[in-house]
Structures are given as C-alpha cells and as structure tokens.
C-alpha cells in the first residue's frame, strides 16, 4: 500500500469512529429527558431576571471588591517583599506563602466561621463580607507575587536614570517603576481576575441572604427549589459569557507584548 493511501485510510477511519460515537450517543440519549432537565424553558422563565439582577450582579460585585482590595494589599506586599528592611521581607514572604499554600475554600471557611468564633469579631457585611474578605486576602497573595515579578522585570537602568535625576526612591517607585511593572503584568493580572470570578462561587459554602447570593449560590438554590438542572446550565452560560471575553483578551495582550519585544 502506498504511504499516501494508508494515511487517507487512517484518517477516514478516525472520522468514522467519531461519527459512530456521535450517532451512538444520539441513539442512547433520552433527548426529551435532557431537554426537560437541563433546558427547561419554564424554569428559565422563573429564573429571569433574578439570575442577572442577583446572581450575575453579586458575582461581579464580589469579584471587583476582592480584586481591588487584593490589588491594593498586593502593592504593599510586593514593595515589602522588595524592601531593604529584612523584617518587612519576612512578613510579606510569610503572608504570600501562607495564603498561596492554602485552598481558598479553607480560608473562606476560616473567615466565615472560625474567625468570628475565635475572636468574637464579625467582619463588616456579615458572612458574605467575611467570605469576600477571605478572597481579598487570598488574591492579595497571588497578585503580590505577580507584581513582584513585574517590578523586577523593569530594567535596573530605569531606576538608576530616575535616581540620577535626583528623584527620591519613593518617587522613582511610583512614577517610573510601578507604571512599567503594571504594563508588564496586565495579562497575568487579567488571568488572576478570571480565577477570582470563579473563586467567588466558593462563597456558596457560607450562606447568604436572598439578595446577597452570587451566581453559584443562586443556581444551587434554584436547583433544589425546582428539582431541575436547568439553573446549572444557566449559571454555566453566565460564567462563560463573563470569562470567555476576558481570556480572549489575555491571549491578545500576550501576543501583542510578544510582538513588541
């Protein structure tokens, strides 16, 4: 057999297997059950508009708060980690390693239940506030590492040029180094943001009032209420509508940075 003929044969076989599998699936699947259970128009109608005005809205709010808080904290941590003063470095390193080493879920549980009991202190915003605070802290650890790498990627000559003009080290950091570092880390930061969107779903373990529920808690409640899986599909679609454009954006930014190099 000629080589090209054999290759064509193998390829044809692979397509045949694929088609066979699809046909088989279609035959054994109970389409009516699937439609009723996952794509029930009736349930979708019940979810609207709360899926947007409660679920998506709160997911976005919690993500933005966690990211903004995490970023602010991370700037401090990254600068501490690069500080000439050793104890600052130790504190930052301990914080970063500790919170990156734990599952986010454990931190959320700790802030939601353990901390209020242990210190008889209630974070602002009730248990949801505690959960978001946990996300702030977890994200601060990840973002700080990203920022530190970005700061160190700024050429040393930038720092020297600024200092040789008489700028103080603080002025140099904020006017010269950080703006360049942020540019470098925009793609990885966007990635952190996407991870954080998904991590807000973990907040469902601490329970929330009706109008405080984020997307996962919302759909989980609806799942129980209607004894139907459609809310899961709706939530999944909502997550993808938010995350896909962002991951595409990251890919584009990364390509552009590669070209600029």
């Amino acid at each position: 057999m000629k080589k090209s003929t054999r290759r064509r044969l193998v390829r044809g076989l692979l397509y045949a297997v694929l088609v066979g599998a699809v046909v088989l699936l279609a035959l054994i699947a109970d389409w009516e059950a699937i439609r009723q259970n996952f794509l029930s128009g009736e349930v979708m109608g019940e979810l609207w508009p709360e899926v947007l005005t409660v679920g998506v809205k709160n997911t976005v709010i919690y993500t933005v708060i966690a990211f903004a808080g995490g970023l602010a904290l991370a700037i401090v941590l990254a600068l501490m980690k690069l500080s000439p003063i050793a104890p600052y470095r130790w504190i930052a390193t301990a914080w970063i390693e500790f919170f990156r080493g734990l599952p986010a879920l454990v931190v959320i549980l700790a802030f939601g239940f353990a901390v209020p009991i242990a210190f008889s202190w209630r974070p602002p915003g009730g248990s949801v506030g505690a959960g978001v605070l946990a996300l702030v802290i977890v994200s601060s650890a990840y973002i700080a590492e990203t920022l530190r790498a970005g700061i160190q990627a700024v050429p040393k000559g930038q720092f020297e040029a600024a200092r040789s003009l008489g700028m103080t080290s603080g002025r140099t950091t904020f006017s010269i180094v950080l703006p360049q570092a942020f540019r470098i880390v925009i793609p990885p930061l966007t990635n952190e943001f996407v991870l954080l969107i998904k991590d807000t779903s973990l907040l469902f373990v601490i329970g929330a009032a009706i109008d405080e529920r984020e997307l996962t808690t919302f759909s989980r409640d609806a799942l129980t209420q209607y004894a139907n899986s459609t809310p899961l599909i709706v939530a999944a679609a909502a997550y993808l509508i938010i995350t896909l454009p962002l991951t595409r954006l990251v890919a584009r930014l990364e390509r552009r940075q590669q070209k600029a190099r």
Partner: protein, 253 residues
C-alpha cells in the same frame, strides 16, 4: 550660555576623588583612585573592558557605593551621611550607554518630570526649558513622540536634553555612543562638542579617541582598577609613556 558657578570658592574642583577603593564582594575593582575634574574641564576616561571606568563614573553620584576613600563634588563630601544626596544628584547630569529613557512617558514628559518633581518648577516653566533643550540637541518637534519611536541617536540626544533640563553643574557620560549604529554616532558627539564649547564640566568614559583628542582637556587611561597614565589628550595619544597605555592604544587606534 550663562552658568552660575560663582557661589563656589575659586579653585574648588567640580569633582575630586581621593584614594577611592571599590570592592564587589572579594573583587577589588577600584584600587586607590586619585582623580579630579576642574570646573569647565572635559575629562575623558579610556581603558580596556573591565578596567573600572564605569564604576569610577558611577561612584561620582553614588550609583555605586564606594568601599573607602573620599569623593568631593563641588567641595561637598557626597558620602557624608548628613548630605542631601538627591539634591547633589540633581545637579549632576548622567548619560548612560543604554539611554535609559522612560519608555512609558513621552519625550516631553521625560524632560519635565524631574524638573517638576525635584526642582519644583511650574509646568509651564518646565515645558519651556524642555523645549529649549530639545532644540539645542536638534530634536525640536519631537515633544510628543515616545522613546520607542526614536532612533538610538535620537534617544541618546533626548537623554542628554533630559539631563540638561535640570541645569546641571556637570555631566557624566558612560560610553554614550557605544550602543549606536556608526552613522548615528556623529550627531551625539556633535551635541557633546557644543556642550563642551559652552563651558560644561564633563567626565566622559569613551572609546572615541577623536573626540578625546579634539574636545578633551585631559585624558585618563585606566587599567586593572588603577589610573595608569593621565595628561593632555594629544600628548597621551601621540606619545604614551606607559607600556600598558601603548599596548591599549596600539589595539584601538
């Protein structure tokens, strides 16, 4: 060009270095340097790679920390802990081999940021001074460009204009033309010649022997962390006394 240096006692040297030693770890890179630059003088420093030229230059504004010895800038000991190092640095212009323009800022902002933040000039005043200096280096009209869109020679001239905008009393150059394509070297050297003609005090690490011969008031040859020979550039270049100078010059000329 009017230059205000009258506040200094007559005879005060712009730069005076005494018995300077510098170690990087165990590596002694400067082994007892005595060196000075007078007001208005152009001093060129030459020598083989690794001889310590950049380190000496960078010690003058304490980008490198001297291990021991004394460095006086206009009579002020820059290693004195009481001294305001940022203020002294703002009066010493520095030009790097790799330009080190701020890539996230426009040319105009590169020239005004330190004027406003360090010199506390108003924006209008800073912009005016920046325009004058851009014109002086032949780059009027490039105010809104970003460094990445300029050629190497243009970037280096912007870097010189940036340093000049602080009205420095002296300028340090670390191989300002070594990173440039040969056809762009002349523009930068031309700007430096103009500066020298205006009476600027300059310390120039360079491999441009022609520049050293024509513009320099003094030539310093370094090798292995010491000053081997120094004197009138025409003398040293035409008639080097030390065998190490002879060996180096025979290779580069």
């Amino acid at each position: 060009m009017t230059r205000v240096t009258s506040t200094l006692p007559a005879g005060t040297r712009a730069i005076e270095v005494r018995d300077l030693h510098k170690y990087f770890g165990d590596n002694e890179v400067l082994k007892g340097i005595d060196f000075h630059v007078d007001q208005g003088q152009v001093v060129c420093v030459i020598g083989p790679s690794g001889s310590g030229k950049s380190t000496l230059l960078r010690c003058v504004n304490r980008l490198e920390e001297p291990t021991s010895g004394t460095i006086l800038v206009e009579g002020v000991d820059i290693c004195d802990p009481e001294v305001d190092l940022d203020e002294i640095r703002s009066r010493i212009g520095m030009v790097f081999q790799s330009f080190n323009l701020f890539p996230h800022l426009s040319v105009m902002r590169n020239l005004t940021i330190a004027q406003q933040r360090v010199r506390r000039r108003s924006k209008d005043e800073a912009v005016e001074i920046a325009r004058n200096n851009l014109a002086k280096v032949g780059l009027a009209g490039k105010e809104d460009a970003y460094p990445a869109h300029l050629s190497g020679g243009q970037q280096q001239r912007v870097a010189i204009a940036r340093a000049l905008s602080m009205d420095p009393d002296m300028m340090l150059f670390d191989e300002p033309t070594s990173a440039l394509d040969p056809e762009l070297v002349g523009d930068v050297l031309g700007v430096m010649r103009d500066l020298a003609a205006d009476g600027m005090t300059m310390m120039v690490v360079t491999h441009e022997m022609g520049f050293a011969r024509e513009v320099g008031d003094k030539l310093v040859f370094m090798d292995g962390g010491v000053i081997v020979e120094e004197g009138d550039p025409r003398e040293v270049l035409a008639n080097p006394q030390h065998s190490r100078t002879q060996g180096f010059l025979s290779k580069v000329l």
